[in-house]
């Protein structure tokens, strides 16, 4: 344009932008037209996703992340000592993220290969499995945005700095005790350290 100081590059066409403008926001901005049913989604999931995420989308006991499981009421240490189980239903604040992430990144190895209808269908399946959607209802933009995620209220903004080390220089402790030691050999050596 004339008012550009340098003028490098070109104005992208609407089509060019649309091909890459795949992001979804929590308020639904970016959600495409389309919809998908639960059964279709379940079938797609079994065909394209279950090999890694398990038939029931709970990880299947394998290496890949579970997409179902955990409990949004059990994220505290009091309720669940140790690493809480964080999945879509137990942890994610917004439903939009499910659609966005599947569309841009899954299946792993063939990202951005699903049609929008297919993403809606798979999202339908996953939301049903996470007890967040009725399997008899289609999933479309409107239905997705209507879903209020159980852990939406569980997030708050970064409050750091949050530690205050008094910066003591002398006689800071009476005694110091070793609480844990790393086990030798726990990290790989030789070829094992190269995938």
């Amino acid at each position: 344009g004339d008012e550009l100081k340098y003028g490098f590059g070109v104005k992208p066409t609407k089509e060019q932008v649309a091909g890459w403008d795949i992001d979804i926001r929590p308020d639904g901005k970016g959600l495409p037209a389309g919809s998908g049913g639960y059964e279709e989604g379940e079938e797609l999931f079994q065909d394209l996703c279950a090999v890694c995420h398990g038939e029931f989308a709970d990880g299947g006991g394998g290496r890949y992340p579970p997409l179902v499981g955990g409990d949004p009421e059990h994220l505290s240490q009091e309720a669940s000592p140790g690493q809480p189980e964080k999945t879509i239903g137990s942890y994610w604040p917004y439903a939009s993220t499910v659609f966005d992430y599947i569309k841009r990144a899954m299946p792993f190895g063939n990202a951005q290969s699903l049609t929008d209808d297919e993403v809606y269908a798979i999202t339908n399946f996953l939301m049903v499995e996470n007890d967040l959607h009725d399997e008899d209802q289609p999933m479309d933009a409107k239905a997705l945005i209507a879903i209020k995620m159980p852990n939406e209220g569980g997030f708050f903004m970064d409050p750091r700095p949050d530690t205050k080390n008094p910066h003591c220089m002398k006689d800071c402790y009476k005694s110091v005790e070793i609480k844990s030691k790393a086990t030798l050999g726990v990290t790989p050596t030789g070829e094992d350290a190269l995938r």
Binding site: Q77, K86, D100, N165, A182
Partner: protein, 402 residues
């Protein structure tokens, strides 16, 4: 004075090559110039390379490799050793096929080739990049048995590129724009929401690291540098910047890279990498060589500015002494510290504690857990302890002081 001269015995070498003898390389011609048009390290440094820990992630394409900081000096990380953190493997993108689309709440939207980007006014800045999962295993206790794995998800280069601010000024940001989505062209389509004040401050669309074009695994041909902020906001193979008025809350800032507290609530947008330091010598990979003089060395850095100082303790935090900052002391950069120590051969608990120009002081692991619990996964910037044994061996331990 000290008498630690174990060196001669420990580094014996082949007597045929030692004085008074003249070794073959002082007699026979060596290699010609351009024997290596692009040079490679000495064959005697084959041990210096990135490493991964296969059991940390499901697969190598979504995984981490660690910089061997135990083998490095100064503050620059040589390009071949920069740590990796990928979510869909790293692509090999032909430069001429690369495009960056900048769109959304702008007066002018634009699509750039690499040639376009490189014609814009250029800046060069030395900054660290650290993954917030660095030292993450240590939340639970002393876990990793080597320095490369306790602290190796941090690197530092001279980054060259165009300030995002330059683009923003040229294209004109519409009033109301508060957030920008940075999205990569990798198979993960890695995306993060960046607050616009930060993006227009010191963020760089970088194409060069330590003078040459980015390495494929560091984002060739273009990446975002967000100085001092979480590693994965420094989006690699960046293909898109969308200006908007709300954050996107995408997977890498909700499911991941959020920090869950003891009470089950979670912090989001925990952007700053805190003030942090670690002793790199001695360490498990490079134990003490003997009693007497040892220059304790290490690295310190802060996402909030320059390092102001580093203190050293050899008794697990009871007493501290100031270290010296050596070489360049730069904003949001690795900083080297050194400290002259006389080792008496007894057990010792070595710690470094840094503080930055904004008044942030590196906390103990107890102070951190007090506030954040043990399961927040990320942002473990705690004071790290090496237990030096009488044998000279160095172990990763965690200590508590009363």
């Amino acid at each position: 004075t000290v008498g630690a001269t174990g060196g001669a015995a420990l580094a014996a070498g082949n007597p045929k090559h030692l004085p008074p003898n003249v070794p073959p390389w002082s007699m026979e011609l060596g290699d010609s110039v351009t024997a290596e048009p692009y040079g490679i390290p000495s064959q005697y440094e084959k041990n210096v390379h990135r490493r991964t820990v296969p059991w940390l992630t499901p697969t190598g394409e979504s995984s981490i490799s660690f910089t061997p900081i135990q083998d490095l000096h100064g503050i620059i990380t040589p390009n071949g050793l920069h740590f990796e953190r990928h979510h869909g493997g790293f692509p090999h993108i032909p430069k001429e096929d690369f495009r960056l689309i900048v769109h959304g709440m702008l007066e002018n939207e634009r699509m750039y080739t690499m040639q376009d980007i490189m014609r814009l006014p250029q800046v060069s800045r030395i900054h660290f990049v650290e993954c917030p999962a660095n030292s993450g295993a240590e939340w639970r206790g002393a876990q990793m048995d080597k320095l490369q794995f306790t602290h190796g998800m941090v690197s530092c280069c001279e980054w060259t590129g165009v300030l995002v601010k330059t683009l923003m000024e040229e294209l004109g940001v519409k009033s109301g724009a508060k957030w920008v989505l940075a999205e990569g062209a990798d198979a993960a389509g890695m995306s993060r929401s960046i607050p616009i004040e930060k993006l227009g401050d010191d963020c760089i669309l970088a194409y060069a690291q330590n003078g040459e074009m980015l390495r494929p695994e560091q984002g060739y041909p273009l990446r975002l540098i967000v100085p001092g902020f979480e590693g994965n906001m420094n989006v690699k193979w960046i293909r898109r910047l969308e200006f908007g008025d709300q954050p996107w809350h995408h997977r890498e800032e909700t499911s991941k890279y959020t920090d869950t507290m003891e009470d089950g609530s979670s912090r989001r947008f925990t952007w700053f990498m805190d003030a942090k330091s670690v002793i790199t010598s001695p360490c498990p990979e490079y134990p003490m060589l003997g009693k007497g003089y040892h220059q304790i060395r290490g690295l310190a850095w802060s996402g909030m500015g320059k390092i102001k100082g580093v203190d050293i303790s050899v008794d697990g935090g009871k007493n501290w002494m100031p270290a010296r900052l050596e070489g360049q002391v730069l904003d949001k950069s690795l900083t080297r510290f050194v400290f002259d120590w006389e080792w008496n051969g007894q057990e010792a608990m070595l710690q470094s504690r840094c503080y930055d120009e904004k008044g942030n002081v590196q906390p103990t692991i107890d102070q951190l857990r007090e506030v954040r619990g043990t399961w927040s996964i990320y942002h473990n910037n705690s004071i790290h302890t090496w237990l030096v044994q009488k044998s000279g061996e160095v172990l990763n331990v965690q200590v508590s002081g009363k």
